[in-house]
Subunit: 208 residues, 2 copies
Amino acid sequence: MTTTPASTAAAKRSAGAADGGRDRAKRADALRNVESIVAAATRVLATDPDASINEIARAAGVGRVTLYGHFDSRATLVREVVDRAIAQTDASLAEVDLDGDPREALARMLEATWHLTHRFGALVVAGSQVLPPEEMRRAHDGPMARARDVLERGRAAGEFRADMPVEWQLSVFQAILHGASAAVHRGEITADDAPALVRDTTLAALSA
Amino acid sequence: MTTTPASTAAAKRSAGAADGGRDRAKRADALRNVESIVAAATRVLATDPDASINEIARAAGVGRVTLYGHFDSRATLVREVVDRAIAQTDASLAEVDLDGDPREALARMLEATWHLTHRFGALVVAGSQVLPPEEMRRAHDGPMARARDVLERGRAAGEFRADMPVEWQLSVFQAILHGASAAVHRGEITADDAPALVRDTTLAALSA
DNA sequence: CATAACTCGAACACCGACGTACAGTTTATG
DNA sequence: CATAAACTGTACGTCGGTGTTCGAGTTATG
């Protein structure tokens, strides 16, 4: 082989989040290309989850063969992209303060989640087509559990309406986020206006 | 040729909505099969917009070749399915009373639209991948225009909040419908509960 | 009941995307 | 600057989906 496969599935699993130490030192340009590819893949797949390897390689400014030098298969690449997205999602949401007034706490969660939804978009679709569904579940269960906690605390305090299932309210939470992302993509609203609209609308929908 | 192509693209265009008179009399079982195919295609594509011809034929209890005897190509079939869906959508929404209290009028629109969204689901996706985007636009512009009228009337009357763009409120309208359909599909809520939840939540989100 | 219409499965060519192999060139690094 | 690592395009085999053809069997209809 002419190029060194950067990562088998097993190696990836152990590599963890970012640029952990590899077996042997990798050349600087190789590292840079891997980053370009992952970044491009994230960008492209977030818009079109069915994008071909060719499109992704072109978007990364890299030959198709080069991409295969770093990722065994399309599935491997998607897994890497999704793993990073999940990592960043967990990191971003971990630093959201869930205490205090439930309405304000939910507003903070909406703000943080909006940016993630907007950035990653349809990436969850690309993941679902390749990765085992159980893996996707886990990625969404974390954030949803946090939102559920805030929601239930607010319902107990009489600030959120309790005449509908919490599951449904979580669906609404997701639906409005997703709808806002689509609206921005369609050019109906600007990305700057989105956070406030999402916040006001969702709070209105869920408040008692 | 062993089978008579039931419909070229041109013939379809002139055939209009349902079972208009064909050139020559078609046999009864052929007609029945065409219906089975369209029904199955609607059912399958509403769930998986990327379903193959094979899956659709199997779902219709018909051989793949038989399907091609009635529809020139996948695109032709999708067009027929989408055309029928649009026709039924227009028919269902046409008989919704838009007058009277804006909130109640919007509730009636939500009720009617919910059934359509639930039945047709991802069919719009299948259409977008095959038909010219302009054709899909037209299908959604009608219903959306009606909703916009009710919305604007309600805003003027002070019943709907006017501190956010109407376009955004229409996006919310769509998003909650779509989210409810997804929630039902995931089994989080039942199809029976959905209409009331959609109505209550959307009205809460948009009311002043 | 005889004929024409319809259905069916198998087989074929076509196409696009995936993944691999090879050979030549560029470039990072010691 | 010499060497090995990395990048590149071309070409190839594979796979799944599409659309067509054929020949034989079935069924509606006059």
